[in-house]
Symmetry: C2
Subunit: 343 residues, 2 copies
DNA sequence: CCAAAACCTGGGAGCGCTCCCAGAACGTTC
DNA sequence: GAACGTTCTGGGAGCGCTCCCAGGTTTTGG
């Protein structure tokens, strides 16, 4: 479809608020009120302004708005560089999509920043310098001081995933504990007796929460929780951890892997050892990435809604910016079990 | 320093240019010159200014710079919404990482926008409204008029992937043609006789270029190029296309899949039909996503460097913004064959 | 019927920076 | 020493908007 977006307007002569005012036969102030949806504007004036805006293709100059007003109309999404490597990419893209979906219609821009080694001070200066109204932090290695610093500086901040070192900073996370517990219970209910787990790094809350949930699920059923190996959210580490587990307990008959991406590696190791999945060893993952359904065999896993994670973070931040009070200090999103063939 | 009670959520006591000037004992103008690296500043003054900046933790107000100056110090990355669904996420994240890497150290912000259905005019108004100095477009469905519109409006624009409907707009792409040709030649060299392909959608250059390259590779070796099925860059479509191919030619002994993500689906179908890979049917993918190495069996594929794609786009845009002339109208990045077990 | 309250409107002072211009301080050359 | 660069410096006029204030017009209430 060749949907014609309007004729290109010359770039230099930018229509200004004043021209809209003249065209609509009102004052600058009134135009400003209309644009900002303020009350106390007659419907006649409002109508005239809207028409003028449409005709002139007016788009307010953000820089001027920011400078004159007290808001930047802009929020930042900060991703730690380690994060961008460690974190599996689909996660990031999903969150981003959610953030954008939630921002739709709001006149708020999203600027993206990645913290770099040694750059932290610049980043903090920038963020606290009034260029943004709030920050969404996607921080992964647990003890990142950034959220704390920003929050202490009075900048509204929401973190993605429970921060280990920033108590008191609002965060949004999937309910990793209960999700993992459900996985454990499922395996127990299916009659598995010797159940191991491949957990994420000890310095990430997501890894620890899933480990805790798994332990709780097993111990409630009086199943041994000693069979633990660790990975770092890469397929390779998953493969190595699986080998480790197999050595610890050759009679292992099920494994809960704290991330699909590691489960892929685990599947390879299992295959290499001649173990059939799920007949010899059942496998349950976590995340429900696209690849979970195309794994061989398709992976039973705990789904987390990453897009919803992004949406919720944004909602929480925008609510705070709107001055809402008594907002929840954290939000946990439910997970859901997705049963395929691997367990 | 008056240590009065700092009222919460009071206006940010932002250090301004003027304060730096006072602290350094020079004028605003001189501080501005130092910040912008202009000549005609004595080293004594420059030194004093740098010290003052460091001591006060000064960070220039971008809004004011934009408003006063002619540049926005900001570039936009526009992703079409369809794109965010169609395009596999790792691709997007990789490009983004490259963009950021290339921007490091430059005082340029990156704002992210997604075009939404019906939103096009707003988007164009915003982008052409002087809020950004240039645009990186990640557009997927071929005939997107956006790049053309932006370029016609005089806004420096670089597109990711050869645009079908925007001749003349600078773009950066992987060398899909030669990559696919290499895959075809490889299969021929390995003695395969009956070679099919699963191509991407006909309205995307990436799909067509890979198809063309494959055809060229086969026809040079006088192998039949009639065995073609189409998918849409999802695993499901890959699985369906593979089934189609198998029906067309039960004696097929190799297939080039125009995207790893579709290859995953193809692998499933092959498995379901009892075909061994690579013994019965060899499979070569394209992209070399992380999942290629964890597929069963690990996928032989053509690697494209998505991060480099992002870097190159950004470099091209920044060069244009810097006023460089006679820049190449397009840039093709080389691909590389990665041999694993599937072929 | 008049005062108070609720609505609507326009004027104008900045927000913090860049950039132009005028001029000072220093050579250099005839 | 006059006449010119060349290097450096400060002053000040905006950039396009928001927000405060003062003043008009209507509605409400006693």
């Amino acid at each position: 479809m060749t949907d014609a977006v309007d004729p290109p307007k010359a770039r230099r002569p930018n229509t200004r608020l004043e021209e809209v005012a003249r065209a609509a036969g009102v004052s600058k102030s009134t135009v400003s009120r209309v644009i900002n949806g303020e009350p106390y504007v007659s419907s006649r004036a409002r109508e005239a302004v809207h028409q003028a805006i449409g005709k002139l293709g007016y788009s307010p100059n953000q820089a001027a708005r920011t400078l004159a007003g007290s808001r930047a109309n802009c929020i930042a999404m900060v991703v730690s560089e380690q994060g961008s490597r460690v974190l599996n990419d689909p996660f990031f893209a999903g969150v981003l999509r959610g953030v954008h979906a939630e921002l739709a219609g709001k006149r708020v821009q999203l600027v993206l920043m990645m913290s770099k080694e040694g750059d932290e001070q610049d980043l903090v200066n920038y963020l606290c310098g009034g260029h943004v109204d709030g920050v969404l932090v996607i921080s992964l290695h647990g003890q990142d001081p950034l959220p704390r610093t920003l929050a202490d500086a009075g900048l509204p901040t929401v973190v993605c995933g429970r921060p280990l070192g920033a108590g008191g900073v609002p965060y949004v996370d999937s309910d990793n504990f209960n999700g993992a517990m459900e996985a454990a219970r499922y395996l127990v209910a299916r009659g598995h007796k010797r159940i191991g787990t491949i957990a994420g790094p000890r310095d990430m809350a997501v890894g620890m929460d899933r480990l805790s949930g798994w332990k709780r699920g097993l111990s409630q059923a009086r199943v041994d929780t000693g069979l633990v190996a660790y990975g770092d959210f890469t397929p390779e580490s998953g493969a190595a951890a699986m080998a480790d587990l197999l050595q610890q307990a050759p009679d292992l008959d099920a494994v809960f892997v704290g991330a699909d991406i590691m489960a892929l590696g685990a599947l390879q190791t299992l295959h290499a050892h001649g173990k059939r999945v799920p007949d010899d060893v059942a496998v349950v993952g976590f995340d429900d990435l696209m690849i979970a359904s195309t794994a061989v065999p398709p992976l039973t896993t705990i789904r987390q809604d990453v897009e919803q994670l992004g949406r919720t973070m944004t909602w929480r931040l925008m609510a705070e910016l709107a001055g809402e009070e008594n907002l929840p200090p954290f939000l946990l999103l439910p997970t859901a079990m997705v049963t395929r063939s691997s367990a």
